[in-house]
Symmetry: C2
Subunit: 217 residues, 2 copies
Amino acid sequence: MTFSEENYLKTIYHLTTASDSEVSTNAIAERMETKASSVTDMLKKLAEKDLVNYKKYQGVSLTSAGKSEAKMIVRKHRLWEVFLVEKLDFSWDEVHDIAEQLEHIKSEQLINKLDDFLDNPTEDPHGDPIPDREGRIVKIEKQLLSELSENQVGVCVGVKDTSSEFLKYLDKQEIALGSKIEFLSRESFDLSLRIRVDKKELTISNKIASNLFVKLL
Amino acid sequence: MTFSEENYLKTIYHLTTASDSEVSTNAIAERMETKASSVTDMLKKLAEKDLVNYKKYQGVSLTSAGKSEAKMIVRKHRLWEVFLVEKLDFSWDEVHDIAEQLEHIKSEQLINKLDDFLDNPTEDPHGDPIPDREGRIVKIEKQLLSELSENQVGVCVGVKDTSSEFLKYLDKQEIALGSKIEFLSRESFDLSLRIRVDKKELTISNKIASNLFVKLL
DNA sequence: ATTAATTTTTAGACAAAACTAAAAATTATA
DNA sequence: TATAATTTTTAGTTTTGTCTAAAAATTAAT
Ligand SMILES: [Mn+2]
Ligand SMILES: [Mn+2]
Ligand SMILES: [Mn+2]
Ligand SMILES: [Mn+2]
């Protein structure tokens, strides 16, 4: 399997699990910053290998073989991110691009030994679940901070947007995985939220709140 | 720089440092298990980028830019091998192929953090020197076991052949880096050697002895 | 010094993965 | 429902890295 094929599978996996339906050629092209015609070419190749279900003009989905390949790539990506943060002391906004490369290293033994070395983590530095060696994923109960109602209290357990920009903003506000977050009030004019993070009160926009996952206490 | 370009540079580096002279198209082709015509194509491209000195039919050598690129790839290869053995508990005969992949990961920050995480090792699991972040190499005094004379004593500090086959043979004979090796006698008929490894005496062929580096005590 | 053998380069082809431009199919709109 | 807009596919190129077969240069052997 080539890097390119793996990247397509991973993208289709993310798009289908997000929307829970067939995914369009254009959606893939946009996500991968490539042209629709290139996507079509690749879909034919992946269909030939029975990794995707593809019928012209009908959108695409992963076969079970394709899904399990995709999960293994996601597993590798997230385990390497844990390694980079936990062992090499990278910050959570620096690891994605390096993991994009490391996820393509081929060795089942390597990834399983890495998994053990890291004490079999179930979530990556951004709170995303890590599939185990059989591809099983432990889903945790979580919801967007923006969906809470006043006076509810939760713990920050993940981010939806994993861009370096957003993560650095969170660092600046001292919001991290594990932070206790109390929803104090909502400003109806612009939907901004007044929250308390650990001891400190601050105001955040609705855009911020809708990219933060919390687990209710 | 592509994987392929990196692999060519690394091969030219190894061949030129071994023979200390220009290297031929055929030598590169043989080492890389590819065709001479493919090598010629690549040499033109590398010359265009000023990474090699190349004149038709005259053999090739690395420019200083090419040499420093090559050393960085070797540095990455060997640091990853240390990681695999020291942290992930691989044995020394299992790490080469995985390191062949890992050496192409692009991130200076990654490799320097890995270096620190491993406590800045100067040799890899096979006794080969690891260039530091400026490309400097600390050469250690070593010679082939086959070149010793009777009754000389040394410590095993490296292997010339790093094939899995040879390394497993050494494991079986309980010869490892750090083993004390005494040259007892030489059988003139087949050049085989009688040696003592730590406490145990054994006979090894000249071929084995000429693939083991020792440092005299 | 020719001729023969070997090495190296060139010429032309191919597969992978991308692109542009144009055609075809689908979906939306009047 | 006919037409317009959008999406998707096809057709034809390009780049990278490989290959085979043949030509050219170098080296070895009569
Ligand atoms: Mn990531
Ligand atoms: Mn992540
Ligand atoms: Mn190696
Ligand atoms: Mn090594």
